[in-house]
């Protein structure tokens, strides 16, 4: 470590450039991972907040809540427990004269069931009338406020925002929570339809009705429009970036090691064990990678703070630890590649 640190201190520009390169790579990986996680979160925020374990849909709805319909004749045969909630989903455009239109997902609830009772508000109160709604706080950034009267699509009816909730997005759109009767109105459905589906906190909930199927929540999430494709795209981008990083870091460390061979030959001639030189190379790589990662993560934190709220960026510890460990590992692997060169340094080369 002594030699490694002394060399970095002495060759500030050279090692500064390498730290800068690792900074940029880690910054890119962190930002991409953050965007990937943020976007994935926006697809599932609401579902995650409910603590759902399974979703019950019409078996012909292609695992889509929007496409599913549960009829009254079906739901009359069901006995829901405290762990089940009816949900009616439909996409809407929210309109208000003073604010811009917002594309949202309307979720009709029975407010006496668990999703309604457990919903946490950041402002306001839960609806007490059919023409009242609770909206995701993303609406606040578009200027919407408590008491605003909004319309959906070309519907003439007005609905009053009585509460804001946090982390309520589905299919990357903010959620408007209202009643099941409003959902029927928006879908222009008769009262013979109850909801789009049932959300259950019980993984084994079964209706016993052949036309209805219970899906694990993970299956339901993976079938959300674009969710798997988007996650796979980001995963491949990050994986390729990591592989390219490994090659770039390895090439840089290899060149650095080659440039140091005459110094290593002198030290070997003086009897310095090759193990000391290998440790020096690896500890130097770790110092450089740690430095780059520290700066890269700081820059990422700053960027995340400065980005507009509309940019879906989010981080979680397992993801950050995984990405950091991945880059650290690429650094160590990169440093290990030229170790063979160090072990083969011939001290005779420094004797004239």
């Amino acid at each position: 470590m002594y030699l490694a640190w002394k060399e970095i201190k002495h060759e500030k520009l050279r090692y500064g450039l390498i730290v800068g390169m690792i900074l940029l790579i880690s910054y890119l990986v962190y930002i991409l991972s953050g965007l990937s996680f943020g976007l994935a979160q926006q697809s599932t925020e609401a579902i995650t907040s409910w603590g759902a374990q399974s979703v019950i849909l019409d078996k012909d709805a292609n695992t889509s809540l929007q496409q599913s319909m549960l009829t009254k004749s079906q739901t009359d045969k069901l006995t829901l427990t405290k762990k089940e909630s009816y949900v009616g989903q439909t996409p809407v455009v929210t309109k208000q004269a003073q604010h811009k239109n917002v594309s949202a997902q309307f979720l009709g609830l029975d407010w006496a069931q668990f999703i309604g009772t457990k919903l946490t508000l950041v402002y306001g109160h839960k609806p007490t009338k059919a023409n009242q709604v609770v909206v995701d706080d993303a609406f606040k950034t578009d200027g919407y406020a408590l008491g605003d009267k909004i319309q959906f699509n070309s519907n003439k009816d007005h609905y009053t925002i009585v509460g804001f909730t946090h982390n309520a997005k589905i299919d990357i759109a903010p959620v408007v929570y209202g009643s099941l009767s409003t959902w029927r109105d928006l879908k222009k459905l008769p009262a013979t339809f109850t909801a789009s589906g049932i959300i259950s906190r019980d993984a084994d909930y079964s209706t016993g009705i052949a036309q209805l199927k219970t899906y694990p929540v993970s299956t339901f999430i993976n079938k959300l429009p674009g969710y798997s494709a988007q996650n796979m795209t980001f995963t491949f981008m990050i994986a390729f970036l990591m592989i390219i990083s490994l090659v770039v870091i390895a090439v840089f460390l290899y060149i650095l090691t080659i440039q140091k061979i005459p110094n290593y030959a002198v030290l070997r001639a003086q009897g310095v064990p090759s193990g000391v030189l290998v440790n020096n190379t690896i500890s130097q790589a770790l110092l450089l990678v740690f430095g780059g990662l520290a700066l890269g993560s700081s820059l990422t934190a700053l960027t995340a703070k400065l980005l507009p709220a509309a940019v879906p960026i989010a981080f979680n510890w397992p993801m950050l630890i995984g990405v950091t460990a991945g880059i650290l590992l690429t650094g160590v692997v990169g440093a290990l590649i030229p170790v063979k060169l160090i072990l083969k340094v011939d001290p005779v080369t420094v004797i004239s």
């Binding site: 070997r268 001639a269 310095v272 005779v348 004797i351």
Partner: protein
């Protein structure tokens, strides 16, 4: 007084290359170095002086013959043991690139302490050595800030700092003026006489002749004692 042998080389041959491109650099060399003596090995460029030095210091193995350093057969021990022997018993003064470029003069010495885990010279001893070599005011400089002569003198101090039993020097005075040659020659001579060290110097520089106990000449790979 009984002399103690430090390096013993018997029937040393060294050949490079194969078949038609085979070159025999050293032929049947016998050499012995004693404690308290300074030996000078002279010869023209390409005569095999440096090869001789690398074999004596365990950096290369001979094609034939035996090398014994302080009763340890260099030619048969593992590389790690040879490294340890060089680190603990032998001080190399190399002609060029012999300082670590990113360590200051002071750090060149403290690095030796770090590697060996001990302090080799008290501060006053080091100060006296640096003073003798006229480099006391260079301790905070990096090698790139030193002249050729200063670099050479720091390299000499660096080799002597661990107090090695044997000093192998490759052209130690190549970059020095006559005044400095005399200082270095006297220093090496004193090391042999006052500190009972074994000094072997490979050189072109006949100005060192006056400080040597023995002078050997290598010519076309064979060695003869000149005086």
């Amino acid at each position: 007084m009984t002399k103690t042998t430090t390096i013993e080389m018997h029937h040393i041959d060294k050949t490079f290359g194969h078949d038609t491109s085979k070159i025999q650099v050293l032929k049947d060399i016998d050499f012995t170095a004693q404690k308290g003596e300074m030996s000078l090995v002279i010869g023209p460029s390409g005569s095999g002086k440096s090869t001789f030095l690398t074999i004596a210091g365990g950096l290369q193995t001979p094609t034939a013959g035996t090398v014994t350093v302080e009763d340890t057969p260099l030619t048969t021990i593992p590389v790690k043991q040879r490294d340890a022997l060089r680190l603990n018993k032998i001080g190399f003064i190399l002609q060029a690139y012999n300082l670590v470029p990113f360590l200051t003069v002071q750090e060149q010495f403290s690095f030796v302490d770090r590697i060996k885990g001990t302090t080799h010279m008290d501060p006053s001893g080091l100060a006296a050595l640096l003073d003798d070599l006229g480099i006391s005011d260079l301790v905070d400089k990096y090698p790139s800030e030193l002249s050729g002569g200063q670099t050479q003198r720091v390299a000499i101090a660096r080799a002597l700092y661990p107090d090695p039993e044997i000093v192998l020097a490759d052209e130690p005075t190549a970059a020095l003026d006559s005044q400095r040659v005399a200082v270095v020659g006297q220093l090496l001579h004193d090391l042999a006489k006052k500190h009972d060290k074994s000094i072997i110097v490979v050189t072109h520089d006949m100005r060192l002749e006056q400080f040597a106990d023995h002078i050997y000449e290598i010519l076309d790979g064979t060695m003869r004692q000149a005086s």
